[in-house]
Each structure stands twice: as structure tokens, then as C-alpha cells.
């Protein structure tokens, strides 16, 4: 059976632990040690929306494992521009590659692609839906730089439209993390998602102010307020720049606090914070490589 990677909901806690452990084994290869594990395999990357780190870290992971990458190229010049359906594109590319990484602006695109694909689909983001590889690398970062045990974490920013935080909160509930959600009222996590999390046994509290919790958490997960997800630009203007993590603010932090961010950032983390012992967002972006290696290996070794 094909192992697609579509949503965190498809994973059990045990499976996540296996992936994180595998990622650890791949770290030396991610840092440059030679490997031919996926030699002879081809990965296709289909990005219908712009991406830098997700696409490049998938490519890096594949190449460092000895595999090759083919690319859809720019959407405007491809068959997509001629009106081809995603279902057809997937069936065609599936004949060329051993696995497909897909980012698409529509929610549910990856789930649908999996129905039509004869090779594993790795969801690299479907609209405001899921982004499981980001979540897994977030968990890995926490495991490597802090601890997933008895974790107290605050997630800050756009919790309404931000797809990464929904998946992350869901996964963290499997680790019984104590979560505080920090956002302006209009960007609070949707009720339906909170309900799902509570059903999972998640411990969630909400506030609008970072300072309220800074002394009680091990991880501060900061997200960008994404302009492109707002249906109304006026709504964006009201909340843009509302949170800003500064050295001054961090005086209230615990000694062992780490700050994470899926990047790219705008002004939500002051560049001066980069030099503090708390910053981990660049390590986090590196960890995308070993985690995606683990996922590629899992998907393609079975294929």
C-alpha cells in the first residue's frame, strides 16, 4: 500500500516518534555525509504556489540521499496553464517519478491527488489546509532543542488562517503539551479546530498578550500574519505588526526558552533577537532537511 503523507491526522503518535528518530539518523547526511539510499529514485516537485524553503529543503533532502528531482517549473508555462486538471497532471507525473511533492492553493488538493496517484504524494501545503512536513520538522526542532515531554508552549500570531499552527496544535495534543494560543481576537483559532483539539484531550488556553505567559513556557512559536490569506485587506491592516518579539520582552523569559518561527518572518521577531540564546528558527529551517529525508525514505522505500 502506498504511504501518502497528507495530514497529521493520518499519523499515530508511534509513527511520529519513528519518523523523528529516523530524522535524527539522517542528520549527518543532511550536513553533507554521502548517501546513496535513494539512488535511482526520482522525486517530482509540483508547486502551484510559491515556496522557497519547503521546495528547496525537499530537493536538498532528495539529492543528499542520492536521488534526483524533476520540477514542474513555472505554472504559467506548463500544461496547467492550458487548463489541465490536477488529477490528470498527477496521473501523468506519477508515470515519471517515484514520489510527488505537491503544494496547491486549494484545500484538500493533496487528499484528492492521492486518490489519483500511483506513487506516494507528500503534501507540502494545501491552501489553508494541512502542511504535515512543516509540523514534523517543528516537532523535531522541539525534540532536538528542548523537549516534547511536559512541554509548555505558546503559539503566537495568525491562528485563524495559519495552516501550520492547526497541524502543529493537533500534533502537540498527542504529546499532551500545555498550549497557550496568543492572537488578536479576530485571528483566534477557529472553534471547530479547538473543538477537535479538545476532543483529542488537548490542554488549551487563550490570551492576547505574550507577556502573560512568557515566564511559564519552554517554547515560543511565532508565526507571520499572512497577508495573502486575508479575504479583506482592511482586516489585515488592523492586525499587521501587532506582535513583536524583542530583546526587551525576552527579559521576562525563562532561561531555557526557545523561539521558533516557520519563516519567512516580517517584523514579528526583531533581528536583534537572532543573536540571543533563545533563537532557534534557523536551526528549525535546517531540520526540515533530515525530517524530509525521513519522509522521502519512508515513502519511497516502500514504493
Amino acid at each position: 500500500m502506498l504511504r501518502h503523507i497528507i495530514s497529521m491526522k493520518d499519523f499515530s503518535r508511534d509513527e511520529i516518534d519513528i519518523i523523528l528518530k529516523r530524522a535524527k539518523d539522517f542528520e549527518p547526511i543532511a550536513r553533507g555525509q554521502k548517501s546513496s539510499l535513494l539512488s535511482g529514485k526520482i522525486l517530482a516537485t509540483l508547486f502551484y504556489e510559491p515556496s522557497t524553503r519547503t521546495r528547496l529543503s525537499f530537493e536538498t533532502a532528495m539529492k543528499r540521499l542520492g536521488g534526483e528531482v524533476i520540477d514542474l517549473g513555472s505554472i504559467e508555462k506548463s500544461s496547467v496553464a492550458k487548463g489541465e486538471t490536477l488529477a490528470d497532471t498527477i496521473r501523468v507525473i506519477g508515470n515519471y517519478a517515484d514520489a510527488i511533492v505537491l503544494r496547491h492553493p486549494r484545500e484538500g488538493a493533496a487528499r484528492m491527488a492521492a486518490q489519483f496517484s500511483n506513487v506516494p504524494i507528500l503534501n507540502a501545503g494545501d491552501g489553508a489546509g494541512h502542511h504535515p512536513t512543516q509540523t514534523l520538522l517543528d516537532l523535531y526542532t522541539i525534540m532536538r532543542e528542548s523537549s516534547l515531554l511536559n512541554l509548555r508552549i505558546a503559539i503566537v500570531g495568525d491562528l485563524k488562517y495559519g495552516r501550520t499552527v492547526h497541524s502543529l496544535a493537533y500534533a502537540l495534543s498527542m504529546y499532551h503539551a500545555d498550549m497557550t494560543l496568543i492572537s488578536p481576537k479576530q485571528l483566534q483559532m477557529p472553534d471547530v479546530i479547538k473543538k477537535d483539539l479538545k476532543k483529542q484531550g488537548a490542554s488549551i488556553s487563550e490570551t492576547t498578550n505574550i507577556e502573560d505567559v512568557l515566564g511559564d513556557i519552554e517554547v515560543l512559536y511565532v508565526t507571520r500574519i499572512q497577508k495573502e490569506r486575508f479575504p479583506d485587506p482592511a482586516e489585515y491592516q488592523k492586525v499587521a505588526g501587532i506582535y513583536r518579539v524583542t530583546e526587551e520582552l525576552l527579559k521576562k523569559a525563562r532561561n531555557n526558552l526557545i523561539i521558533m518561527h516557520p519563516l519567512p518572518r516580517l517584523d514579528e521577531i526583531d533581528p536583534a533577537v537572532d543573536r540571543t540564546k533563545y533563537a532557534r528558527y534557523f536551526e528549525q529551517s535546517f531540520y526540515g532537511v533530515p525530517v524530509r529525508m525521513a519522509l522521502l525514505a519512508m515513502a519511497m522505500e516502500l514504493a
Binding site: R106, G108, V192
Partner: protein
């Protein structure tokens, strides 16, 4: 005479109360439909103006149980369980009576199916099922309270279910 006997022994409850619409010889009677939902019931069953079957609809009929109810009778067609179970989305109290020779040969309440395919439209406009892609909508069903979760985008429909019928 024969007919009278049949009436007496059989779909009696239904018939006595509901002479507004004459009893049917063969077919399906959907009773106890939430008042006002009869036309949506036809829609959900795919019964449109092009159907050749004889269909009788009674709306806002006084009822002991529901105060007011709708009734739909479809002649010469025995609806299968999976066809009618979707009726429970909009009429949870509905009962299905299969009639042969004026007799109720099977009577049961509708029950929500675990999954619904191609009946509803996802109300997330950005869902992949609302595009020209060759997919039909599919939902997993939570029964209490009634909530439909799109298997593609995870969007949940819990209110105004009739409005989302395809």
C-alpha cells in the same frame, strides 16, 4: 371489497389519517418528514421533474407525534435503505414504509449513514471538491449533533444542511 380489506389490515395507521392522498398499491411511503422538508426530501432522493414515477407530496399534515409533518409517496419504486438513509440529514424522524399490494411489508426509521457521497456540496469555496476536478464530494458523518466533515478539506457543515444539497 378486496381493496377495503387490504386497507383494514395494512397501512391502516397511515391510511386512516391521511386520506388527503390516496393509498398506494406498490412503492414507498416516507412518513413523519419534518414539516416543510418534503421538497428537499425529493431533492435528496434525486426525484426531479423528469421522474416518470407517480409521486404524491403532502405538506404540513397534522400529526400526533410531530404536530405537523410532511409525507411523500412514491409509486412503483421501492427505495433502498442507503437511498433513504440520507433523508435523515433533513428529517431525522422520518419513517420509511415499503408497500406491496397495499400492505406495509417493511417499516423502519431512517438512520444516518457513516459516509455521504455526492449528496452535499462542501461549503468551503476553496475546497478542491468545488472545482472542475473529477471528484465527487464526500463527507464523514457525525450523528449527534449532525455534523458533516468534508474528507478533502476537513471543513465541517453543521447548520443549514438542506442548503448544501446538490
Amino acid at each position: 371489497m378486496k381493496r377495503k380489506e387490504a386497507d383494514k389490515n395494512t397501512c391502516d395507521g397511515l391510511l386512516k389519517k391521511e386520506m388527503r392522498v390516496r393509498p398506494i398499491q406498490h412503492g414507498t411511503v416516507i412518513d413523519h418528514i419534518t414539516a416543510g422538508q418534503a421538497l428537499n426530501v425529493l431533492k435528496i432522493l434525486g426525484i426531479s421533474g423528469t421522474t416518470t414515477a407517480v409521486v404524491s407530496v403532502a405538506m404540513n399534515v397534522p400529526s400526533a407525534v410531530l404536530e405537523r409533518k410532511d409525507i411523500v409517496k412514491i409509486e412503483d419504486r421501492e427505495l433502498k435503505e442507503q437511498e433513504v438513509d440520507r433523508v435523515s440529514l433533513i428529517a431525522p424522524d422520518a419513517t420509511i414504509n415499503i408497500i406491496r399490494d397495499f400492505e406495509v411489508i417493511d417499516k423502519h426509521r431512517v438512520e444516518l449513514p457513516e459516509q455521504l457521497e455526492g449528496v452535499m456540496k462542501c461549503d468551503n469555496p476553496n475546497c478542491i471538491s468545488n472545482t472542475s476536478e473529477p471528484v465527487i464530494s464526500k463527507f464523514t458523518v457525525n450523528k449527534k449533533p449532525v455534523e458533516l466533515r468534508c474528507i478533502y478539506c476537513d471543513h465541517v457543515i453543521s447548520q443549514g444542511i438542506a442548503e448544501h444539497l446538490i
